[in-house]
Symmetry: C2
């Protein structure tokens, strides 16, 4: 054990980034491959990943099952697991859940900030919970082995997803609202329900989710994790850095605006700071992941708890989550 797993990244992928994953000793990374993409556009993104797997076989490998994390460790590579931050890749077709699972997708958010066909996003005024299709898709995701991710969803929708899902769900990248009251961060009620159902929280390093944003200290971040462990237990926690390394600001605009509006939506930014915020100086990219390990020790976690939060908890969750389940 003692794996290092990042529960979410959306970098501008390149040989440089893959090398930095290796320098950071990351055994696995859940990468976002779709924000607003249609099915066909998502497949084009998978094709691009196929070329990277072919081009950099010494750095990365495709991850399908938890065992691939172990194979990656043994062969000195990083296993890449696919996920979507929006259900747009399945369009209006529940059959695409199994198709995309077959192509490697292992996580799907039911919403990305806005209302979707499945649930309500965290930026909407009213949260109507899981839709009719949403309940069907959660059951189908349970059946094929695709994790429900509610990182960008609203409170009621999140609680209903936890309740309705027969398998534990994840919030791959968010922090507790008690520490930084962002719309994207989660209430104590959500954290408790998530932990009680066996789900996982990945702590985000995206500055808008951090106390004092880019100026957040490692000590404050790790003390927040310790406090969250008091609510959820240390075994339900991991890292989901939300690293958007090397992305041009046009990408954060695509993430926020997609094709759903003709106006600019600044999301967690503002007109005066519309771009990606600078990362905290103790986590600039994948090479710095070890700093968090040090910070967790300093915050009083045991070696076993630190190992769990750095990756072993995600690995256990992967083991439970990616194989097909019993039919609903």
């Amino acid at each position: 054990m003692g794996y290092r797993i990042d529960g979410l990244q959306y970098a501008n992928w390149s040989q440089k980034v893959f090398r930095q994953m290796r320098q950071g000793g990351l055994d696995a990374v859940h990468v976002t491959i779709a924000y607003h993409e249609t099915f066909r556009e998502t497949v084009l993104n998978i094709e691009r990943w196929n070329r990277w797997f072919d081009e950099f076989p010494d750095l990365i490998m495709k991850g399908r099952l938890a065992g691939d994390v172990r194979e990656a460790r043994e062969t000195g590579r990083t296993a890449i697991f696919f996920g979507f931050q929006n259900p747009s890749p399945i369009e209006d077709d529940i059959g695409l859940v199994e198709i995309l699972h077959d192509l490697g997708a292992r996580f799907m958010q039911l919403t990305y900030n806005n209302q979707s066909l499945l649930a309500t996003g965290c930026y909407e005024d009213d949260d109507t919970g899981l839709t009719r299709m949403g309940r069907q898709v959660v059951a189908e995701m349970n059946r094929v082995g695709m994790v429900v991710d509610m990182s960008h969803s609203a409170e009621r929708s999140t609680l209903e997803a936890i309740e309705h899902s027969t398998r534990p769900i994840a919030i791959t990248h968010a922090n507790p609202a008690f520490w930084q009251p962002a719309l994207r961060n989660k209430s104590d009620a959500v954290l408790r329900a998530l932990a009680n159902s066996g789900g996982m929280l990945g702590f985000s390093l995206y500055p808008h989710h951090l106390k004092h944003k880019s100026a957040c200290t490692l000590q404050s971040f790790c003390e927040m994790i310790a406090r969250t462990a008091g609510i959820m237990g240390p075994e339900r926690l991991g890292i989901g850095s939300d690293l958007c390394q090397d992305q041009p600001d046009s990408v954060v605009e695509w993430m926020r605006v997609g094709r759903w509006t003709r106006q600019i939506d600044y999301g967690e930014g503002s007109a005066s700071a519309p771009g990606f915020p600078p990362m905290p100086d103790w986590y600039r990219d994948n090479r710095d992941i070890g700093n968090i390990q040090t910070g967790l020790r300093d915050a009083g976690f045991s070696d076993k708890e630190v190992a769990g939060i750095m990756g072993d908890n995600w690995l256990r969750f992967f083991e439970e989550s990616f194989i097909p389940g019993d039919p609903p």
Copy 2:
């Protein structure tokens, strides 16, 4: 050994047909899942198969590797391997070869009668061989482990595919032209080149490919196989029945016409007989496959040769063909 494998069918799939596969003792069937479909339409067809696998787990299972044929035998089921009779599912995008292989596609014809982006079909006046994209796609199919199938291709294109492919190819469903001089049947030159490269020929039971069509006798069919064994060797031969059971005549029209013409094209039929021809009385459906085994024995084949033609040769070919190869 002693497997029963059908190298091509396009039935109107149903529980009835799957039960008849079991009654015929078929361990594996290569099924056509696309004639003129786009990528998205092909995915819809895969989704329909996913529902059948889910609905009839006691009768059929998805085939991905040769070992699945053995698992099917051990569990009393038929392994279903996907193929396309046209390259339309990859559209103009070579990256879709790997995507569709990941979704289970194991055979793809480079053409269906007409000129395609890849090669020339057997109904065109002029045969220009493999196109620029055709050569690239053959190399990509070799890389990922998808079999090049030239059943509906013209002579020069077929010879060039055999030559250009670094892995053995297949003609899954056709007969020798020496026996029945149909445009779809193959010359001695093609049969020799196919055998010399380690490829496979599946004998068709579609009446337009048979001597005396629907009135063809089992004896004539098996004597033709014996004569072909003299050219190709018995280990390069299998069955590819081209069974189109329970299909309405609208389907043979779709096969011939697709969306490429506003006129009716009768293909191998005629204005007076535009529909599916009746099958010979000794092979009406999957339950009759054993008759061919008997006929082959009567034609003088040894037990081992009969077992090879009935399925063991296809199984050996599956073993060689479906796993990724060395990069070109």
